[in-house]
């Protein structure tokens, strides 16, 4: 199986499995965030519930970090090999029916910016200002206050939008190409699969983008 993991095919399985972990994570992360639209207290209570279960939190964080590292490492090795395989470029880039989507051609660039976003995002929120609040007699972190504070900064919102739109393209390509990488793509799925991937990506990113919109519309 070591030969398998070193092969181009095997490394696509690694990209797919680690990507799938994050496809699942961003969906649940987005769904949880939607609670902010219900109430600030509920949002805080949800955050508190997650950090209260330490063993589960550490397991989940480890899986996410390991997946991310494996995803990035494999992506780098594949990208280096791919660039080496095609060193000279064509004078003209095709743009007709024989071309490819910009999203599929620029996964490495999108990924790099999304990585920068993840790091900044952790600094801003997970390791950001520690405000406290009291919900139903329980002392907890006031993430709601932090979210309002951060999303009132236009520069941060602009960066958030750019990163999330790139994430949308990254997810849309990933969500359909894992079917090919995993070897479960069949002729009958081909047409609907890209639609499914786009619907998924738009729901996830649309959900996230509703947060700054909520701050702008409700709290301004």
């Amino acid at each position: 199986m070591l030969d398998f993991l070193k092969s181009t095919v095997g490394r696509k399985y690694i990209m797919g499995i680690t990507g799938l972990v994050w496809l699942g994570f961003v969906l649940t992360h987005m769904a949880g965030n939607m609670l902010i639209l219900v109430s600030g207290d509920l949002y805080n209570a949800y955050g508190h519930a997650i950090v209260s279960n330490k063993p589960l939190l550490y397991v989940a964080e480890s899986v996410l970090i390991l997946s991310l590292c494996a995803h990035i490492f494999t992506a780098i090795t594949l990208t280096i090999q791919n660039r080496k395989s095609r060193q000279s470029r064509y004078a003209i880039t095709p743009n007709g029916s024989k071309g490819s989507s910009l999203a599929s051609r620029t996964m490495a660039i999108q990924g790099s910016i999304v990585l920068a976003f993840i790091i900044l995002h952790l600094i801003t929120f997970k390791y950001g200002a520690e405000y406290t609040t009291n919900v139903n007699g329980v002392e907890m972190r006031d993430l709601h206050k932090l979210v309002l504070e951060v999303f009132k900064q236009p520069v941060y919102v602009a960066w958030y939008f750019v990163s999330l739109i790139l994430l949308m393209f990254h997810l849309s390509h990933g969500a359909h190409s894992i079917f090919q990488s995993f070897g479960i793509l069949e002729r009958k799925m081909q047409k609907s699969l890209k639609k499914f991937a786009w619907i998924y990506a738009v729901i996830v990113v649309g959900g996230f983008l509703s947060q700054p919109l909520y701050v702008f519309l409700i709290h301004n």
């Binding site: 095919v9 594949l78 095609r86 599929s104 190409s177 479960i184 081909q190």
Partner: protein
């Protein structure tokens, strides 16, 4: 009404003496081209005029000129085999171009396909992949009865579609990673679907993927340009099939066993 007027074209063609030399684009006029001519016939006419002038002719691969042998192929304005889908360059007709157009011709560009001369490249990397397992082992003798082994219609049709690959190299040429995944997977799929090929399908998947990786091809990133550029429109589902064949073959790879009643 179809445009029947002859065309005047300007061609920018990649000229390269050999693998060592540095190539460059040279501009040629193609006057009075019949819209019914094939693209290669148009280049033939330019070559004839070059012969008359005592200049070196433009080298390009071709053989059957019926779209079935896989010899021809180059980039036309960045499209493998030109703008028309599902067509080899020999079957591309000049009616697809318009009068006064400038058309750029380049050879397949991939490290695994070194340029031999002008628009010709060395595709023997494909031959080595086929040699690694793109065949079935059969005893010689009389041809077996065609219908002796029943094959489900679905499998036969899918195998036919995969077998349509002519090995022209358009998939590699159009892929930004110069990946040979579509070519290799088409052969793995074609033979794995048929009972004659299924016997050796695990070893074939292991050997052909290993050979593909040992050549200078890149990895598949599912951009889909290979299938879009393929003159035989080989589907991406072949790559999926190769991936699962390779996973299964790696997982169930057998080791020699001894003992018991095997004396």
């Amino acid at each position: 009404m179809e445009n029947k007027k002859n065309l005047n074209l300007t061609l920018k063609i990649w000229r390269q003496k050999n693998n060592q030399s540095k190539g460059e684009f040279k501009t040629y006029d193609a006057p009075n081209v019949s819209p019914d001519a094939s693209f290669l016939e148009m280049v033939d006419v330019i070559n004839e005029s070059l012969v008359v002038k005592g200049e070196e002719t433009i080298a390009f691969d071709h053989d059957c000129r019926e779209g079935i042998c896989g010899s021809c192929g180059f980039m036309i304005d960045g499209n493998a085999h030109g703008p028309q889908k599902g067509t080899t360059v020999c079957q591309l007709h000049m009616r697809n171009f318009s009068d006064g157009q400038t058309v750029t011709l380049e050879p397949w560009r991939a490290e695994a396909f070194p340029i031999i001369k002008d628009l010709m490249v060395d595709r023997s990397a494909f031959d080595r992949i086929i040699k690694a397992g793109g065949y079935i082992s059969a005893n010689t003798g009389g041809a077996p009865d065609a219908n002796a082994v029943p094959i489900p219609k679905y499998d036969a049709d899918e195998a036919f579609l995969s077998a349509a690959c002519i090995g022209c190299g358009a998939c590699v040429a159009s892929c930004k990673n110069a990946s040979a995944a579509l070519f290799t997977s088409a052969k793995i799929t074609h033979l794995a679907l048929l009972p004659q090929g299924a016997v050796e399908k695990d070893q074939r998947a292991l050997d052909m993927v290993a050979q593909m990786d040992s050549e200078q091809f890149g990895a598949c990133t599912s951009t889909g340009t290979c299938s879009a550029s393929c003159p035989k429109e080989i589907s991406l589902i072949n790559i999926a099939k190769m991936n699962r064949e390779y996973l299964r073959a790696s997982w169930t790879k057998k080791e020699a066993v001894h003992g018991g009643d095997m004396a």
